[in-house]
């Protein structure tokens, strides 16, 4: 097997191991929210909503996404970047303290693995990330 074929094989194996064949996102290990079950956290700065596109704003209030998360069953939290955290359970506090490269930021955790990164561009792309990291059957 030549070198190019080995590179292609390695990429293929990595994608398969990520469990995500649709959007190419790489899982985070250990799970970014240290709690059992399916948990989704969106961190945003409400004072910066003017920088979000309409497609991204729709993610915050999408009934479709919330219904899907409920059906897993799962929990969705949308928190302001500087919201007081003392009322939150410890796993959520720790998730809020994780470094973030930008805002708004999405964290998905299924108890075994997860994903975190910038909030996708729209509801469909967000749904793809969520589905890629649902709780393994």
């Amino acid at each position: 097997m030549n070198k190019a074929a080995l590179v292609v094989l390695a990429i293929g194996v990595a994608l398969l191991m990520s469990g995500n064949r649709s959007c190419g996102v790489v899982p985070t290990l250990p799970p970014p929210i240290d709690a059992p079950g399916y948990n989704v956290l969106i961190v945003e700065e409400t004072a910066d909503r003017g920088q979000m596109t309409e497609d991204q704003l729709a993610i915050l209030t999408s009934v479709q996404l919330r219904t899907w998360i409920d059906q897993q069953p799962g929990t969705l939290m949308i928190l302001d970047d500087d919201a007081p955290l003392e009322q939150l359970a410890k796993p959520w506090q720790e998730a809020m303290r994780r470094p973030r490269a930008s805002l708004p930021w999405l964290i998905v955790s299924n108890g075994k693995t997860g994903w975190e990164g910038p909030l996708p561009a729209d509801v469909a792309a967000t749904q793809a990330v969520l589905e890629a990291h649902r709780v393994p059957e």
């Binding site: 003017g50 309409e54 704003l57 209030t61």
Partner: protein, 263 residues
């Protein structure tokens, strides 16, 4: 939402609508004459976001409707009812508390029915008197609002002070904005950014909560409101204001609350 899609009971209240027709005698209102030199009660958090150009409003409303991402979609999905102030004059607290219900829903927090009277009664020394949303918001920022499990929604009674003293601290607003009075661009932008607004109207002597923008025609818009006259008013408590009647004399927007799950 577009005019053609409005439910039959979703009345549109505009300049031609007689004030008497939207003020049933059995429904409480309660804005005091605006005499304060500082109508915002010292809140001083002016709206900082860029206003959305008017040319984008209709398109954004259409896309909100397609993605089922309006605040009213969220309310229906979560299934909490509109408030009912009954015979109290506490509309000004109901408007702000309704905002908190929506903000909590957006944040993913479970619905906790909060008590407008727990805010208004202490401010007015346990008298059934009018006020303004900014007063209610300032009080909630400092003291919180009690769940209805510890202070019934319309109870003007000191007996609830002590039992709710601790729990109400967990239901505080931590971030908010005040909008410029009668400024449609700020109001519409705030709503399109999914931030509900408590709006007070001198013409109505009443305060309600605005949550979505409605397209009424070419370059013609209204705002959908959630009133505090129960679910028999309008469409399950909702209606639409347009023309000069939608321009609020006071507008405050609580946008972040303490992430308290309940209890």
């Amino acid at each position: 939402m577009f005019l053609s899609n409005l439910p039959p009971r979703m009345t549109v209240i505009g300049d031609e609508t007689p004030v008497k027709s939207v003020c049933p005698s059995e429904c409480g209102r309660g804005l005091e004459p605006q005499t304060s030199p500082d109508p915002f009660a010292g809140l001083a958090e002016p709206f900082p976001l860029p206003t959305i150009p008017r040319g984008e409003w209709a398109d954004r409303v259409e896309r909100q409707e397609k993605t089922r991402s309006r605040l009213i979609d969220l309310k229906k999905w979560r299934g909490f009812p509109s408030l009912n102030q009954q015979q109290t004059s506490y509309c000004w607290a109901n408007g702000v508390v309704a905002c908190l219900h929506y903000v909590r829903a957006l944040m993913g927090l479970p619905h906790v029915a909060l008590s407008p009277a727990s805010v208004a009664a202490p401010i007015k020394n346990f008298q059934n008197r009018g006020g303004w949303g900014s007063e209610a918001l300032k009080y909630i920022i400092e003291h919180g609002v009690a769940p209805q499990t510890t202070w019934p929604a319309n109870a003007i009674d000191r007996q609830y002070v002590e039992p709710s003293a601790e729990v109400r601290k967990h239901y505080r607003v931590t971030e908010w904005w005040e909008l410029r009075p009668r400024n449609l661009e700020q109001l519409v932008s705030c709503l399109l950014y999914r931030i509900p607004v408590a709006v007070g109207y001198n013409w109505w002597g009443h305060e309600v909560m605005a949550h979505d923008v409605v397209v009424l025609g070419r370059d013609s818009f209204g705002i959908m409101i959630d009133n505090s006259w129960g679910t028999n008013w309008g469409d399950a408590g909702h209606s639409v204001l347009k023309d000069s009647k939608m321009l609020p004399d006071e507008a405050v927007a609580p946008r972040v609350v303490l992430p308290r799950f309940g209890g």
